[in-house]
Each structure stands twice: as structure tokens, then as C-alpha cells.
């Protein structure tokens, strides 16, 4: 039985943790939240120097060629610090999409730029109010030209390229394809959109005859996206676990120090049991996330099921810890000056970005039905 990370992986985790504790304390999250910058570029550059974006990229494309397990331990630390950097967008979504669907030439170009930190990538799926579905995508791609509007796009301003879900004229699920588009062209307009988490900036991207190319085969966009989301769900789960743990300890620390009715509020069962529940949810999430990481690394048959379970457990753990952290703080936790808001905001962004728990629970049961039928 070896259901744990290796000593080397734990060492890497510790290294990233120390770096972020030093370079990305909560005042950096606040700086981005309150300010105009697209992300904390100083922290991001430091992460690039540490080799973070290169970690999961094969050596043939300029990366470090490490396994998903190394990316998972990094994700947990990014989540713990709520770092305002394009990790989920670039290191997870764009990188994984290229690894999954990119041609050799595309990987050579984009993955090596991602690895070196020259490029920041993002994924552009949603088009406003409705949850994205193949039939609802209005952005079109044909004859090498991309037209339409995507919103919200995480890191849409900071990104140098985007992977976009576009209608390519097929029917049903085959109506859509993934395309890759360089954002440094006049045919792309970007506009910041306000969201619930100003520490992670989002944008609206408008494409008017933008030059783009297919990523993966035409008509396979939806299927690729499902697979991409399975991998992403696992990396996100680690980030959510890190965030949940941070929120839980923040609440614990405050409860130890805050006095009410003549004693620390941490001595009341109402608070103790609430935080014990945070721990229970956290450990359920961690265990499910570990299995996801294992399946991702092995390419195991249980990957879709493990990804859904990790996604559901981690989303619940982070949501719960983030909201009960504010509750434990009481009034001060609801002020702008309190750090509690960072995890509350981030937990909701992460819960919605790959589709919410309701959709994943439905997927999980479908996958369970398929497994049982097999």
C-alpha cells in the first residue's frame, strides 16, 4: 500500500509553500483585489523561476517532464495561499488542453512558451448567462477565422493565447471544436469584467475574424472538453483542498484568540463541532483527490469517476470551510479589511468554473452506471 506522495514530492510541496508564504502573503492577494493589476506578476515570475509552469510539460517541449502528482502538490499550495496568479488558467487548463489535443507542432510552439513563462494561456468556453452546452455556443470558427464573444474568461487580459470552444457546423455534440488563438492581434478585443473575485481578473474577449487554428479534430470539442475537465477537476481539487485547509486554520486561530462570555470561543462546542466538520470534509476531499491524482498519473480506467468524486468532495470542503471561516469570525469577518473574504470568493469561482456540483453529481452517477453496466 503506497497511497501517498513520495518524499521528493513532499519536498517540492514544502518548497512551493515556503516560497508562497514568503512572496504571496495575504497582503498580496489584497493588493490585486483592490488594485488594477491583472495578476501578481512578481509572484508569477517567481513561480516561473521555480519551474512551476514547466513541471507537467514533457521535456521534449521544454518542460521538466514530471508527473501529474508534482503538479497536484503545487496546486494545493497555490490554493492554500489563494495566490492571484494564472495557475488554474495557464498551468492547468491551457497546458492540459495542449497536452491532450495539441499536434506536435502546436505543442512545440505553445508548450515550450508556457514552460518558459513566455506565454500565459487560458480557456474560453462560457458565453454569458447559460451554462455552456454544444448547442448554445454562438462563437464560430471556419476558414481559419474565429468570430464571437466569450465571457467570463479567467485571466483574459493577462493571457497571450486562448483555447476557445467554437461552433464548427456539425450537429449535436459534434457541433463544437476547440481552437487555439493568439490574443496579440488586432482582431481580438479584451475588456475587463467585474466578478465576485477581483483577485482573479476575468475578461470578455471579442473575436472579429481572428486568425486561429483547430486544436484537436473538428467536431471533437465537447468530448475533448469533458476529458480536459476531468484532469482539471483533479488539479482544482488539490487547490480547493489547500484553500479549505487554510480557511479552516484561519478560523481555528481566530477562535483561539477571540474571547466571548469570559472564554475563548474555541472552547464552545458550537465552534468546535463546526470546525471538526470542516476537517471531516477536508479529509474526505483529500482522500478522493489523492485517488484522482493516482488515476490521472496511471491513466486508470477509474479516472472519470475519480475526477467527479474529487471535484464534488473538494468543492464541498472548500465552500464549507470558506463560509464557516467567516461565520467563526463574526462581524469582523464580514469587513473588507478581513482576510476571510479571499477564500470565500475563490471557493465560489472554483466551484463554478468547471461546472458546479449539481452537474458533477449527475456526471458521477452516469459514470457509475456505465461502470456497473460494464
Amino acid at each position: 500500500m503506497n497511497f501517498d506522495f513520495s518524499d521528493d514530492q513532499k519536498l517540492l510541496k514544502e518548497q512551493v509553500r515556503k516560497f508562497l508564504a514568503d512572496k504571496c502573503p495575504t497582503k498580496v492577494v489584497r493588493r490585486v483585489l483592490d488594485g488594477n493589476e491583472t495578476h501578481a506578476d512578481d509572484v508569477w515570475k517567481g513561480l516561473v523561476d521555480l519551474g512551476v509552469p514547466a513541471t507537467g510539460i514533457p521535456e521534449a517541449y521544454g518542460g521538466l517532464g514530471l508527473s501529474p502528482l508534482e503538479v497536484c502538490v503545487i496546486a494545493e499550495e497555490i490554493g492554500r495561499s489563494a495566490a492571484p496568479v494564472p495557475f488554474d488558467s495557464s498551468v492547468v487548463l491551457a497546458t492540459e488542453a495542449l497536452k491532450l489535443a495539441g499536434s506536435d507542432a502546436q505543442k512545440k510552439k505553445w508548450l515550450s512558451e508556457l514552460a518558459s513563462g513566455k506565454a500565459i494561456g487560458t480557456l474560453a468556453i462560457a458565453e454569458g448567462a447559460q451554462p455552456p452546452k454544444p448547442r448554445s455556443i454562438r462563437t464560430t470558427f471556419g476558414n481559419g477565422r474565429l468570430n464571437g464573444k466569450k465571457v467570463p474568461v479567467i485571466d483574459g487580459e493577462a493571457a497571450t493565447f486562448a483555447i476557445v470552444l467554437a461552433n464548427t457546423g456539425g450537429s449535436g455534440d459534434r457541433a463544437v471544436s476547440l481552437v487555439i488563438v493568439d490574443l496579440a492581434q488586432a482582431a481580438v478585443a479584451r475588456k475587463r469584467v467585474e466578478t465576485i473575485d477581483p483577485a482573479r481578473k476575468h475578461a470578455e474577449l471579442t473575436f472579429t475574424d481572428a486568425t486561429a487554428e483547430l486544436l484537436g479534430a473538428e467536431g471533437e470539442g465537447w468530448q475533448l472538453l469533458e476529458r480536459l475537465y476531468d484532469a482539471a477537476a483533479i488539479y482544482f481539487a488539490f487547490a480547493q483542498v489547500g484553500g479549505a485547509e487554510a480557511a479552516m486554520w484561519m478560523a481555528r486561530d481566530y477562535a483561539l484568540q477571540r474571547q466571548a462570555f469570559g472564554r475563548a470561543i474555541a472552547s464552545y462546542q458550537a465552534i468546535k463541532h463546526k470546525l471538526a466538520d470542516c476537517y471531516v470534509k477536508l479529509e474526505l476531499a483529500r482522500s478522493n483527490a489523492y485517488y484522482g491524482a493516482m488515476m490521472l498519473t496511471e491513466g486508470g480506467a477509474d479516472l472519470p469517476l475519480a475526477a467527479a468524486a474529487a471535484r464534488i468532495a473538494a468543492t464541498e470542503a472548500y465552500d464549507f470551510a470558506a463560509k464557516e471561516n467567516i461565520q467563526t469570525h463574526g462581524g469582523i469577518g464580514f469587513t473588507w479589511e478581513a482576510d476571510t473574504q479571499f477564500h470565500y470568493r475563490r471557493s465560489r469561482v472554483m466551484a463554478l468554473s468547471l461546472g458546479g456540483p449539481m452537474a458533477w453529481k449527475d456526471k458521477l452517477v452516469s459514470r457509475l452506471e456505465q461502470k456497473n453496466a460494464a
Partner: protein, 407 residues
Amino acid sequence: MDFNDTPEEAAFRKEVRAWLDANATRKSDDTQSFRARNDDPGLLVKAREWQDKKAKAGYARITWPKEFGGRGASPILQVIYQQEEANYLVPLGFFDIGLGMCIPTMMAYAGPEHLKRYVKPALHGQEIWCQLFSEPAAGSDVAGIRTKAERDGDGWVINGQKVWTSGAHYSDFGIVITRTDPNVPKHAGLTMFFLDMKSPGVEVRPIKQMSGGANFNEVFFTNVRVPDSQRLGKVGEGWKAALTTLMNERLAVGLPSGGLDIDELMELARETELEDGPAIRNQTVRSKIADWYVQQQGLKLTRYRTLTALSKGQTPGPESSIIKIVAAPKMQDMGAFAMELMGPAGIMKEGIPHAGGFQAQWIGGAGFRIAGGTDEILRNIVAERVLGMPADVRVDKDVPFNQLGKK
């Protein structure tokens, strides 16, 4: 990451399998079991035979030192033995409390002559032990016990009542926690003994549970004489000895095995027609199934993390403390939900497939949430031991036991 055995573990597993194949019948499917009807004398005879066989082969208590009939081996090998044994049709459960809790406490406190006398018969299933801790007025607050032991010449006289004593009706010996000094605060006035359950003045009465089963007992002590040589630990240090016992209880990380789970719930949801089609297509039903699946997997995988630490010779982390907090309410809630899917007939005890199994979970879950640490006490333990939060305010901490409740 993998779930594989180390070469040493794999070799041991192979050896265990070969021995089990030669000595027991393999289950044809998971649902087969020796029904743990503790009141069936025939079952106890078979259980003693199986225990003796295991002990002779060195599988009865793998982690114990060789001098006591163990192998002095790592806890992971004990787990591997149990994993393999679970695939065979063998009678289990009678010796767990004795070998898991009572005898380890004896090893910590009893003298060599007592160990020489008692360990071997317990290991071989000839003598069964029970643990006499809980009382009507001392459940979660077990240090609040009132059963008293008073000095009388070179011995002690015990009077009082214990409750929830598993297996007392077939036990030969027991370890008992008593109050020897009511003039000091509650933890300071306790002393532990072991005693012969056939001693004059010991009366065992079974408790019929809400589920209909009767695995537990009330035990009454009326002027029961115990020699001082059967005292475990010093006078007034019984709480320390009790913690040794309870710590061993905690080492027995376990999930309730067998029983209906997600697969059966899904089967039920496929077969149940709701107004808008099969229940399995209903989003509320799907959402609940998903939640319980995530919990079921989470518990299994959490246990794998604990086993990983054992396999590496490390002390497991606190993660296993979540297991019963999740498993017990899940059992209760899932049972209740499955019954709901069956409609009004969900209350019927016959004629409805799986109804009995889910009803048993619904009923049993209510007890499981209390046994071996209530949901509330377990949350306290997580908060205090894992999260480092303060213990509850204890108004009885510095008050002599016999002054409690008096103004």
C-alpha cells in the same frame, strides 16, 4: 502511488491465503457470513475452535510479542491477515474485545504470573474477556462511574452496576473500572481490577436493543470480592489504565463491513418507478447517490492512507478519526432514503427486496452513532486533538466526586 503490497507483504498475503485455503471455506460471495448470533451456543463452540486454530498457526495476534504467541510483526501484516480472513466463512467477533483491549491492558499492568496464566487461554479462545466501563450514569463521561470498590483486608469488595458490556454473558473474565475514593475529583479516585465473571455476586442481564438484538448486557456487582493481586495499576490511577484500554480501542480502525451500499441503492433506484420515470433518472436521487458515493470512496481511501503509513512503519495521521463520524450518519440516512424510494411499503419487513437490509441500516445507524464514541464526542476529539482547540469547560474538574451536584 499504488495499492500494491510490498514484496514482504505480498509474501505474507500468499502464505496467509494458502493457510486459509487449507483450513477454511472461501465465501462464494460477499453477502455470505457466519451470522453473529452471539446467543447461539453452537456458534461459540465453532468460534473457539477457529480461534485455537489461528493461535496455533500464529495468526491470532500478529503484532503481539513472540513470548505471548504473536509474531512481533508490523500492524500492516495484521491488517493483511484480516483482509484475507474476511473472504472466508469463519466465525469471528467473540475475542476482539479481550484480545484488542483487555489483554493489552493486562500486558501493561499485570504481573508476569498473571500474564502466564491468562494470555494464552485468551489467545486460543478458551477464555473470553469483557470490558466493564460504561454505567447508567457514565456514558460519554466515563470517568463519572459510581461502581465502588472498598478495601476489605487483603482484598476489595465491589458494589455497583455496569451497562453496555458486550459479551458479558459468555465472558470468563473482565476488566472493571471502579471508584475507590469519592473524596477526590472524579479522575483521581478510580482504580482498575480484573475479575472472574463467575465470582459470587456478579449478575449478568442481557439488554434487548431497539434493533431486537441482544449483544450487550447490564452487569450488577453485589459484594463481589476481588483480591488486591488483581488490581491493575496503582490505587487511584485507574483512569490512566482506562486510557490504555481505550487507546487500544482506537487502534482498531475499522469500517462496518458488508451490508448494503451504493450498488444496492442504485439497483433499487433503477427498479423504482417515480411519477416521471425510473428513480435513477431523478436529479434529487442522483444527487444523493453521488454524495454517498463520495463519502463511501472517501472513507475507503482514507483508510488506505492510514494503511500506507502502517506499511511504511510510520504512525498514521489523525485522518482515521473521521471514519465513524461519516460512516454512522451515512448508514442511518441512506437506509432511511432507500426506504423512502420504496414508497409506503418501505416500512414492511417482508416481501420487499432489500427492504430488510436498508431498514437494518436505518435502525442500526441510530445505535452506531452512539456506540464507541457518540458523533458529538468524536467531534470534540477531532477539535481538541487534531485542531488543538481547548477542552470543554469542566465544572467538575476540581470538585470531590461526592460533592458533585451539591450546592
